[in-house]
Symmetry: C2
Subunit: 333 residues, 2 copies
Amino acid sequence: MSEIRQNAATREWVIIAPERARRPRHTFLAMERAIVPAYDENCPFCPGNEEVTPAEIWRLTGEDGWRVRVVPNKYSALSQGAELKRERQGLHQSVTGVGLHEVLIETPAHNRTTAQLPEEHVAEILACARSCYSRAIDDRRIDHVVIFKNHGAAAGTSLTHPHWQIIGLPLVPSQVRGRVEDALRYFDDFGECVYCRMIEDERSSGVRVILETDSFITFCPYASASPYHTWILPKTHAAAFDAITLSELKDLAKNLREVLSRFYHGLEDPDFNLVLRSAPRSHAGVAYYHWYLSIVPHLATPAGFELGTGMFLNASVPEDCAATLRNVVLPER
Amino acid sequence: MSEIRQNAATREWVIIAPERARRPRHTFLAMERAIVPAYDENCPFCPGNEEVTPAEIWRLTGEDGWRVRVVPNKYSALSQGAELKRERQGLHQSVTGVGLHEVLIETPAHNRTTAQLPEEHVAEILACARSCYSRAIDDRRIDHVVIFKNHGAAAGTSLTHPHWQIIGLPLVPSQVRGRVEDALRYFDDFGECVYCRMIEDERSSGVRVILETDSFITFCPYASASPYHTWILPKTHAAAFDAITLSELKDLAKNLREVLSRFYHGLEDPDFNLVLRSAPRSHAGVAYYHWYLSIVPHLATPAGFELGTGMFLNASVPEDCAATLRNVVLPER
């Protein structure tokens, strides 16, 4: 029989139904990955095409040219050059699309995913993401910053070249607001951060842990929304991402690169979304919220049930997923 | 410049960014639809294979055999033959997977979508869905019923043969709970149902309306989450779907069939999810919540931004989508 589990932090329920894994499947989720060249002359993120992107914001220079670049998104969802105005007409409320939408190009190599980059390079990417975060939150019109990466077409990528995106919003999304409120309620009830409690809980049971280092812990949450859903949490409490120190950045790079390598080698390079969930500006230093990275491989397609309830139907058991990932044999470096 | 709009009922924000429609796209969303035969001997829902499904719950018989069938889902996410138990261990809360998961087979024809069925047949499907709903909510262990249909692989279908699904849950999902609470707050503040207010608003402006009949109105919401996102609402206030009358069922069939025909002929038969959002059991007769049908065509892929914020990035303007759908030339019947 299936089991319905609740995530203590987000209060979201998930149906864990391993029996459903037996049902016949369409083949399109097992799409073969095309062979990607190391360089594509038509790719706006490949070296030599630097003029195709909007004016560069930042670059890290290495021995043979740039190693990481940040540019504005050419098809930006939001723009900084506008006045923030809120309008209300009867039932309709709108805000002008003020904000920031940037692209962090991870590497000059068109075909190298984060899993294949050296750990030091991943640390550089994360340091760059922290700078982008700080710069975005410096704009007083921006209330919330979200950083994410889409890998593969099923995860919504429109460009293959490895990149992250940074979006600064002039408001707090209602989902984020709800999570902060839920965390505050837990704090009021129990006098501690629910995410800190969860870290202790995962450490003591160990069954869902993939990796633990000095500053971070990587695990499949108890109420994982989908197969191999993974969270990476800082062990020292911090509500906002930009509180991260240099040594923590290196440690985060180790966790991130390792779990992505385990996906790459153990799950045949699945499409995935990666999201950095940090506190809204107004909750940056609070004791009750905790930033983290969430990674969701696309091994199942959310459908009408998920859309109509906000719940997820997961045909895999989180403890099994964690064990599988722990057991992936990684190539020697 | 883009605009950020809020749905007054769900309080969810959406970025309406038509400039993004210009960006290059992967081709996989324009997947060609394979030609589907009228009969597939390996399909468990095709006539002759009635023994392959679990024992039939209900059928509507026509002149040449059944016209609509209801069967339990063979790979059920939940089961009725179990005891409802809630367990709490430290941080972890779980509920046994008690509930109902049924399949409504729309037609014996393997290759006819809802858009292609006669209006009377669609009314029969909806009447059948109402019976399923009532039967599910009769089980006192079930707190919430969701009815949905997935059309096409990108929408999560594992079987091509046209079918709907009914899931009865032993709890209220947090997203649904949030929406009911938001509707209650609006009612407290303004003394009316926010959905009734929205209907009046859409009728008076008319720019987002696709179709209006005696009992229903079909429109693209002001804060549509994605291109051609469509809502169908009953004009007479009702919180739960099973309050629908026979004449309203016929009128709903007219709205549903017509909008799906406009998708089919105007948007080249897109994959879509359809969800019937009704009140939880405990809110069945309330003045502040309002049931409706939501249809989301898969013309864009939700990605890290949507996952990390619960917001949506929509590259189309709802008023333009409604106009396009109104202008679709339907074949004569």
